[in-house]
Symmetry: C2
């Protein structure tokens, strides 16, 4: 797969770092701090989203967009919107009433750094701003494409997507889920947004239906690999490597693929999905090489 | 004003009831309960939004839409989206970390009826669904108008609108705000969404710039009258009439116009704003009569 194609072994790391720079500059510009007491909620939004995440979702948007030669500023705005939506979900997931997590990427989570009310509001406003950025004319796409982005993001993140997955996750604590049930939970909770990130570039690029199909399939299997490997890391990595509490899923009795398949089988399943994901991009040739490399990286990373 | 024009003294009450029926049928159709454990979050969304509210925001959408002869189903969908956005804000405002309110319209608030995690997720998903409905093709407007609605709603509800106002409100507890500071807080916290509701009909109807200007001014002053009169009711009405804890703002040391102006002056100010609001609609003649009547009702209601 990609390792045959990418000559520079650091190409992915460099591309991820470059995406981080571009997207963080966009986020900084898209979230100016206003005058007045409402500044506090914007500071909390900035804290939550400008925190040195891996920017995998942003990278997916930017890289699939370049497959279709989309304007780079346009892609960066959509990438920033996805990172805002993702950050909102993390801020709300970390709340005491939800996963009650004090740490996020090695730093105090938003409600610890600010307070619960501010964190609730910051999450709310990050979601709002994500949809706003997609719909803005500055997003250089025509109104049809902008509406399609709003719809696709809403579908990926609402009650039948990410929030639905989070609800199932909360409702299943302490229950024993089957493999298919866990797969569905994970597809909703994290898979849909990862798939959206890949598809966004195709929407912006007015990709053909077959191209859309392959990109969606890549995003779906990449998302599956990512989540299963997250479960693996939760079992095997240290808190220092993860930047968050390790072994927490098991301690909370949360259903993971590791609990169903065992560590080795779960790892093998994640690797298979990553390989499949990369395979869907063969038809894009050299231009898809970094996306293929990302799939491989997803199941070899340390955090 | 409107009382000269509306012959049937029950016309407003009947029109409000008819809007409620139409919008609740839309909400019911737009929020089908899925199979699986994620059903719980949709049940909480339905509980929060299908609760017999006054539907003033929905009425504003439907009535301004009829000024411009907009398709009624189209207007009803946008009205339903505004009610979802409003319901999300109430669900999150009622949370223990925010206003900590156990009652909403005489019923247990969402986190009391379900639980905190479910209420956070239901609010999140109501916001998502509101933007989704605006962007959907079923909303019978062209993509430009749908994008414009998404943008206007995001502007009204994000960190520089409703959420910003809520942040100022939280940050000001126990502090003494001046009249202008309270006016700004209330304009952000509740005024912007009321103004959006009025403008949505004009956006759908592709109203001319002068018409947009008058509708926006009507919405702005109606929103001001509404919020100041809410402060008056919080002082004077009983919990039974309000369906929520009475006298709570004063007890929490929240800044209200009543605390700055005194009860009589605050009432007079609300009435003046309502009169001004009605005045902006003179050019629409008989078709604007119910909207004028709504302005008068806003400052005479009991709850």
């Amino acid at each position: 797969m990609a390792s045959d194609i990418v000559r520079n072994p650091n190409a992915l790391a460099e591309a991820l770092a470059e995406t981080s720079r571009v997207v963080e500059a966009q986020l900084d510009a898209l979230l100016p701090v206003p005058e007045g007491a409402e500044a506090r909620v914007v500071e909390a939004m900035r804290y939550a989203v400008l925190n040195g995440g891996k920017r995998m979702r942003a990278f997916l948007v930017m890289e699939t967009a370049q497959l279709f030669t989309v304007n780079r500023t346009c892609a960066a705005r959509v990438a920033a919107a996805v990172e805002m939506l993702h950050a909102y979900s993390l801020v709300h997931d970390d709340l005491p009433a939800m996963d009650d997590d004090d740490l996020r990427r090695g730093m105090p989570s938003c409600h610890k750094q600010f307070d619960e009310a501010t964190a609730i509001l910051a999450g709310d406003a990050l979601q709002t701003r994500a949809f706003e950025v997609l719909a803005e004319e500055d997003t250089h796409a025509d109104a049809e494409a902008r509406c399609e982005l709003v719809l696709a993001l809403a579908h990926a993140s609402g009650a039948r997507g990410m929030v639905g997955g989070q609800m199932i996750d909360m409702a299943s604590e302490g229950k024993k889920l089957s493999g298919p049930e866990i797969t569905r939970l994970q597809a909703l909770k994290t898979g849909r947004l990862i798939q959206f990130s890949a598809e966004a570039g195709a929407i912006l690029g007015r990709a053909s239906q077959p191209q859309r199909h392959f990109i969606a399939a890549y995003g779906r299997d990449l998302g599956g690999a990512f989540q299963i490997y997250d479960d693996v890391l939760d079992e095997t990595a240290s808190a220092e490597e993860l930047g968050k509490t390790a072994g927490k899923d098991a301690a909370q009795g949360k259903a993971t693929m590791v609990s169903v398949l065992g560590l080795e089988q779960a790892k093998a399943h994640a690797e298979l999905l990553a390989e499949q994901a990369a395979g869907y991009l063969e038809s894009f040739g050299e231009r898809g090489a970094l996306l293929q490399e990302l799939a491989r990286f997803t199941v070899t990373r340390k955090s």
